[in-house]
Symmetry: C2
Subunit: 242 residues, 2 copies
Amino acid sequence: MNDDCWVPPTVLLAVDLVILTLRESQLQVLLIERGVAPYRGSLALPGGFLNHDQEDLLTAAHRELDEEAGLGPEELHLEQLGVYGTPGRDPRGRVVSVAYLAVTPRLPEPVAGTDAADAKWTPVAHALSDAAPLAFDHRQILADGVDRAREKLERSALATAFCGPTFTIVELQEVYEAVWGVRLDPRNFYRKVQSVDGFIVPAGPTRRTDGGRPARLFKPGPHTTLHPPMTRPQGPTGKEKT
Amino acid sequence: MNDDCWVPPTVLLAVDLVILTLRESQLQVLLIERGVAPYRGSLALPGGFLNHDQEDLLTAAHRELDEEAGLGPEELHLEQLGVYGTPGRDPRGRVVSVAYLAVTPRLPEPVAGTDAADAKWTPVAHALSDAAPLAFDHRQILADGVDRAREKLERSALATAFCGPTFTIVELQEVYEAVWGVRLDPRNFYRKVQSVDGFIVPAGPTRRTDGGRPARLFKPGPHTTLHPPMTRPQGPTGKEKT
DNA sequence: TGAATAGTGTCTGTGAGACACTATTGT
DNA sequence: ACAATAGTGTCTCACAGACACTATTCA
């Protein structure tokens, strides 16, 4: 089957980042407008090729995160999402891309003067719609990333990664509502989230709001996996397979 | 940051397969004994490099599955597990490997006369122990694969992929017990599994056993996601993070 | 005082787990 | 008849969801 002189083919390796945050109660993703061909002018996920032959994948992801979004590696949730390597997905040749999922609490204005200052926060619903066709197969990658985030909210403390160092329970609820695309009962959520062992712990006193009773502040607890898990109402949001 | 003449580095791309099955009520994995350096003589997951420049990743995984395990693509659960690309993981150079998880119901004897006839079913517990050091980072890949399987048993109909076209409920229970490493109450499991909508449906009459009442036969139902999910007893099996 | 938001009490239905019990086979 | 395995009934406890109610702030 193999020639004696057969050598395995090589491919170009890239990383792509799905960077999610919550802005204006909406799930948003960081997109950049491509300045070079291919797909020049289209929106795309931040990403790029490995810098050199010995660069680790996760290191490369962090480097791109810093270059294109100005976000350092401190306390930033970063998780491998999958590999996208269909031949023809990139017109430049055989490019295999490793996608990473990142979640950030911060609300920096459209990212300061960085390498790619044309980075824009975009509502996920819009980025996935037909109105804004993304470059390459980035729409699929984004969809997979959002799906992953939805699942991880159930069994992990990922939701706190959307919030600042301290947060109110209502803020946490907004994360669940935005990512899952559902409405939750505040009273039941209030007790449920506190009954999960090690999920959140009280932090400091209270925070004033628009004119109601001030809310208690919490910070992430010691556990990253939730027992019992948060239960997502079965709804039209999660794609059901028949 | 980039030279004008900078070109992105290329890497070698491989696929590795975690092929799980149930034999003698144990979760077992298909391993091959390497005939060539590096790690000659060690046990390793089946896998190999891309055949050519335009081969799709999933296609390559199916090809290796066929070559090394004699398993065709028919009705075989195959799912991307992750990418393993740490520099130095392969002494031959920069090799990035895409791992796939496969689950098979069949119990072919140690695989017929195929390309790699030294493929062996090995209990996962043994393969993960220090007694049988696997080549490369395959121990980590295997551990990740088993973890993924454990999670998927909860929310998907993956368990039926371990069984033949028809199966009894006790057989299905043995899958859960072996993969999760727990004991379940047969009576509660019996009703639970039937209450999950579209998980399993009756098939044919009954199957005789060693000397008790014959069991009804079932086959996989139309749904691949389980509502509500099967609940795994919290135990020392699933790694808890603190 | 009233609007607004935070937080509590309590009921009800569903489902998990425990386990006594019945049903159907081989020897 | 008895052992062995399949399948049913039923109780109890925990928890999700619904929702009335209390608490604390600002205007």
